[in-house]
């Protein structure tokens, strides 16, 4: 999808105007010519206030997420692909099969129509890849200066076709913690494109939809106790949240957490800890010890799990803390971070 084949008259309206969110003719034109064309087909009954769906199961997973990333485009992805994959992944973490997404845009007046078209294209591509359909949406435009280009909200529905209950309270002492690949790529890719912290790197965001790799685990009969996708706050935050929710201690071996050399170096330069850096295509799974080897193999056989490995275990310590065995073999507590990591000089 490029501007040559964009059905919306970009030359006539090179920038998004307030009127495009106003509910009138211009908005109709934007929805019909750009959005519906991209995400179509238009339902036979026409576009209404809500879309009625028939679901093939009565246990559904429902989630919502908003995306405010800046810059809008970064190596390995953009706000569009993030908006799809982020919500698909939230659904996948309950073992749900994602089906439908809603798409809400809050666009800043003045955003280039070409940029919007690019983002729409990216959303379409990501949705197709993940096997989901965009079925409803909303568009608002805010005054220039009151937005960051564009904010996107996606909500998603998925169906639960398995009999597992994948929640932190299902975690047991002795459970093995697996991860599907190396950490920190997304955060570093974003950092590398921001002004004043420029450096040359080939690192790309790991932004990806995890529903397929998760379904491989479920289909193989792995008794997954819990899963979490790693986003803001990184691996450390996800582990701490789960430890709290499960009221169990977790032990991680720092040397077994995979980090690509360039990510480690970028973190060293900035004074970041990779354990806290954002990801968008990584998840951890808590599985019974007896099934760990089998689960690991399944992950490693999938394109999104080639770097998969075992990083830790659930201890029988009732204190909900995450303990890290450091590179030199000494133990320390791996805490939640407060606020965002800021580049250090010390």
């Amino acid at each position: 999808m490029d501007s040559l084949s964009c059905p919306f008259p970009i030359q006539q309206y090179p920038q998004v105007l307030l009127a495009h969110g106003g509910g009138g003719k211009l908005m109709q034109q934007l929805i019909e010519k750009m959005f519906t064309q991209a995400f179509g087909p238009k339902p036979a009954s026409g576009l209404h206030d809500s879309t009625v769906l028939k679901l093939p199961a009565n246990k559904i997973a429902f989630t919502t997420d908003s995306f405010v990333v800046h810059p809008l485009f970064f190596p390995g992805g953009d706000i569009g692909s993030l908006a799809v994959n982020g919500t698909v992944n939230d659904l996948a973490m309950s073992g749900a099969k994602p089906l439908y997404l809603s798409l809400g845009f809050i666009i800043e007046e003045g955003l280039s129509m070409e940029v919007l078209w690019r983002i729409v294209g990216s959303i379409k591509k990501a949705a197709d890849r993940a096997g989901v359909t965009i079925v409803t949406g909303d568009t608002k435009v805010v005054d220039r200066g009151k937005g960051d280009g564009i904010y996107i909200n996606t909500s998603g529905i998925g169906i639960i076709e398995h009999g597992l209950s994948i929640v932190p309270t299902k975690i047991r002492a002795g459970d093995v913690i697996l991860i599907n690949g190396d950490i920190g790529r997304h955060g570093i890719a974003i950092m590398a494109t921001r002004e004043n912290l420029e450096f040359e790197t080939t690192i790309e965001s790991d932004c990806a939809a995890l529903n397929d790799i998760v379904s491989c685990l479920i289909k193989a009969g792995i008794e997954i106790h819990c899963m979490r996708d790693l986003t803001r706050g990184g691996l450390a935050s996800a582990l701490n949240e789960i430890a709290q929710d499960a009221s169990k201690g977790i032990q991680i071996d720092e040397a077994s957490v995979p980090v690509k050399e360039q990510v480690a170096s970028a973190c060293a330069i900035m004074g970041f800890d990779p354990l806290y850096v954002a990801n968008e295509g990584r998840f951890i799974a808590f599985v019974p010890e007896g099934q760990a080897a089998k689960a690991l193999k399944i992950l490693q056989n999938h394109p999104l799990g080639q770097g998969a490995c075992r990083i830790g275990v659930v201890s029988d310590d009732p204190k909900p803390l995450v303990t890290l065995k450091s590179f030199i073999g000494a133990n320390r507590i791996l805490d939640m971070i407060s606020g965002e990591q800021l580049p250090r000089i010390c």
């Binding site: 040359e200 080939t202 170096s265 330069i269 004074g271 250090r344 000089i345 010390c346």
Partner: protein, 83 residues
């Protein structure tokens, strides 16, 4: 107060006549960044430098760098003897 990282100089731009503006492209484990070499004008391509907030502050003495390991190796051998 000293977050300074070692990196390898891949190329140098500038001349000794204008020392304060000598810059190097330094490779930190795969990440490339432009660094001022104003304070290490004697640095050559292939040298390792310690970099803090965009400035190389010293050359890594590669011989000295190995001494820690020689020392530890000796200690290790002594330990084995005692055991």
């Amino acid at each position: 107060m000293c977050l300074a990282i070692p990196g390898k100089i891949e190329s140098i731009v500038g001349s000794k006549e204008d020392v304060l503006n000598i810059k190097g492209r330094v490779n930190f484990g795969g990440i490339l960044k432009e660094v001022s070499l104003a304070y290490v004008p004697e640095a050559k391509v292939g040298d390792y430098v310690i970099v803090h907030v965009g400035f190389a502050l010293s050359l890594v003495d590669q011989e000295e760098a190995l001494k820690v390991f020689d020392y530890l190796k000796q200690m290790g051998e002594l330990e084995e003897l005692h055991n």
